[in-house]
Symmetry: C2
Subunit: 431 residues, 2 copies
């Protein structure tokens, strides 16, 4: 069996994958190699799809990445719409895509969406399929092995990274269900596992079989994303004992993955008020010794219904500035509905703005060129250049022209545009 | 002449206005009185419109407020559309409205929009009218007195608060125009004043006549909002010498206003990267000894074109959490166009989410009731109660129903909703 990229990096040689990511990101290849070797950076991949998938690095010293979730649901099962979402995700600059489908024919759905998502790394949550098909097949709870079989099926198909909710033990699930949390468990995968544990009385199958799972992932050299089944789903529940105990479990599982040379990242909340985000990030980075942090939101208030991509962008920007590495987008449909393609676009762009705002803090001048260029074009009223630089040129152009008026400035200030008024006094010193 | 509300508060008695704001906000009236007396809180008002306008407090210990800008432009002059924006601002929970009109018939426009904005406090930037009408009347630069005459006209009409760019001296304007800032001056009022100072060679008329202006404002007991003509318009320009020198001037002007019993707040940037926002707020509060801070944005990146309400909401939430008191909304049309009514709504709601997220930090449990209620309704899948609690019930309902499917849960998880799955295990312990 070939060495994993992590073990190769640890042996001292610079893997091809590291060279390529270093090139894309403009970082030193040897520094990146060390970070990969130590588990502070991952490169999403699966040897089954080598060469077909863009190599995306996630972690310390790299730009913050954005993930888009797609997937059919039990009551809205429109594979063409989900393919369209994948197309939008690629077009508007997502870095990874995850398939969260629930319902029928999940193998087929996954294969179709994986192809539609190329060239982006593709992630899944195998728990959904294991539970849904398991229950259907067994007429009751599936046995433990079935969770592992489904996971292997995803690996064989070439899935690059998977959310595995291994940190929620049976004891923690029970404690959560008896807790006075406003919302004991909001993670869908976490809820399915908790229900399975309650019904069977058995321990979490991923937790119990962690070493076997590591062997599987090593074989395909794919990436584990440790799920946060106990993430707070309400700001009042943030940074409580349940969240932190699961994080401690996850941190232990990270260490064992590193020993085996398996790349791993850790997922984080959820709903978190602004003044707890920095603590959350620092605690996670400390407990996991710098593992890449994949955050959902965090949403900084619970009242953003219909606009939760904004509540999430606020938290994501603060998290990214502090060290979060991968941001899971949220759409305006969060908490309300499966998003439609337009909502996917809006959510993705909000997350990209948040990621970039964080990168300005994390990486400084290295990533500020687009801001500086945009500002220079703005001062010169170079509209087409501004549109081209924006994350959604078509929308920027449409808003600019929304009254059908053509001006050197814009319709906000018209003739009293600050740049027009001051131009003559600056002529000599304008850059 | 009657005492101003600030002088009354300083004399030890609790003014009627303070009692009312204390009631609305649920704070101790005497604490509020002291803060008003010391200039750490303002109550927007003008004696000419007493009784017709909602008393809105801004400052320490109070909820963060949101301002909506409206107003016609030189090339899009549709007073009905601006009235519609005022209506939307009132409906969706703005706390104050400012008229930034430029163009013709500014007195008439102001009176119409002020009426349309009732019962909200109404603000203006008299510099626009002074410059535009002055130039038209004089065929060149108006004289200094004209700036003061226009200001008095606004006071007489009942304007509750006004942006006065008194802190940008001629020397600072010259220095800015010769600086290597990417964008020397982006404030429209600041640009007009700078042009006037460059053409006439005179000092800033507001700066030179500050004591006279204080007398005028004391007469109407209205509020001054010290403008930030030198706010950074690009993140690369943030927290530079120009911004801070103007802030120092403004802080001095604040002290003189307090001596005269005139309520004053200070305006702030602009474009500021995440890691400079806290410093900006703390510096402003320190220099001004806790004056209310009115921030525009701050935008945390320059590349958000078409989505700048999101770049601004990120900065505004961080600023509010740290102590900003009034947030000026920004719409998706910022930097592109006069906003349309739908964009006004989107910008306002984004700003309200930011303000509330900040208040959760600043004021804690006192303001968290809507979050807790929303989370409880969410866990119980009480959709109508969630819609009602949201900032935009109609939109939440529309998104929820966008596929025409009716479920106990939503179309995201369908039958695999975490709350449905776990319900039976929680029954005994559910609140």
């Amino acid at each position: 069996m070939a060495k994993t990229v992590m073990l190769e990096a640890r042996s001292g040689s610079v893997p091809e994958e590291v060279l390529e990511v270093a090139r894309t990101e403009g970082v030193d290849p040897n520094k990146l190699r060390v970070r990969l070797a130590e588990g502070r950076v991952i490169i999403a991949r699966n040897i089954k799809r080598q060469g077909r998938i863009r190599l995306v690095g996630v972690g310390e010293g790299l730009t913050t990445k954005v993930n888009v979730n797609i997937g059919v649901s039990t009551h809205v099962n429109d594979i063409e719409m989900e393919k369209e979402k994948a197309r939008i995700a690629v077009q508007y600059g997502a870095d990874t895509i995850m398939d969260l489908s629930v319902g029928e024919n999940l193998d087929e759905v996954r294969r179709i969406l994986m192809e539609a998502s190329e060239p982006l790394p593709f992630g899944t949550v195998p728990t959904y399929q294991a539970y849904i098909e398991g229950v259907r097949k067994h007429g009751g709870m599936p046995d433990e092995d079935f969770f592992l079989q489904v996971l292997e099926r995803h690996l064989r198909d070439g899935v690059d990274f998977m959310t595995i909710h291994a940190g929620i033990t049976r004891e923690l699930a029970e404690r959560a269900l008896k807790s006075n949390r406003i919302q004991p468990i909001v993670s869908r995968g976490g809820a399915l596992l908790a229900a399975w544990m309650m019904e069977t009385g058995s321990e979490n199958p991923y937790y119990r079989n962690w070493d076997y799972i590591l062997e599987l992932f090593a074989e395909y050299d794919a990436v584990i994303s440790l799920g946060d089944a106990l993430r707070p789903g309400a700001i009042a529940d943030a940074l409580d004992e349940l969240q932190i105990l699961e994080l401690i479990n996850n941190a232990r599982l990270v260490e064992r993955a590193r020993e085996k040379g398996v790349q791993v990242m850790v997922e984080g909340p959820g709903h978190v008020p602004i003044n707890k985000i920095v603590a959350d990030i620092r605690l996670m980075k400390s407990l996991t010794r710098g593992a890449p942090y994949y955050v959902l939101g965090p949403l900084v208030t619970d009242i953003g219904l219909g606009y939760d991509h904004i509540a999430a962008a606020i938290g994501a920007a603060i998290a990214a500035a502090e060290g979060a590495d991968l941001i899971c987008y949220l759409t305006p449909a969060e908490h309300l509905s499966l998003p439609n393609p337009e909502q996917v676009k809006e959510g993705l762009i909000a997350a990209r703005i948040a990621a970039h705002a964080g990168d300005i803090v994390k990486l400084g001048r290295r990533v500020m060129e687009p801001d500086i260029k945009m500002s220079i074009h703005r001062a010169r009223l170079e509209w087409n250049k501004m549109f081209k630089l924006s994350l959604d040129p078509e929308r920027a152009r449409r808003i600019y022209s929304q009254y059908g008026v053509q001006l050197p400035s814009c319709t906000m200030c018209g003739s009293y545009c600050a740049f027009l008024i001051l131009n003559k006094y600056m002529e000599k010193t304008r850059r």
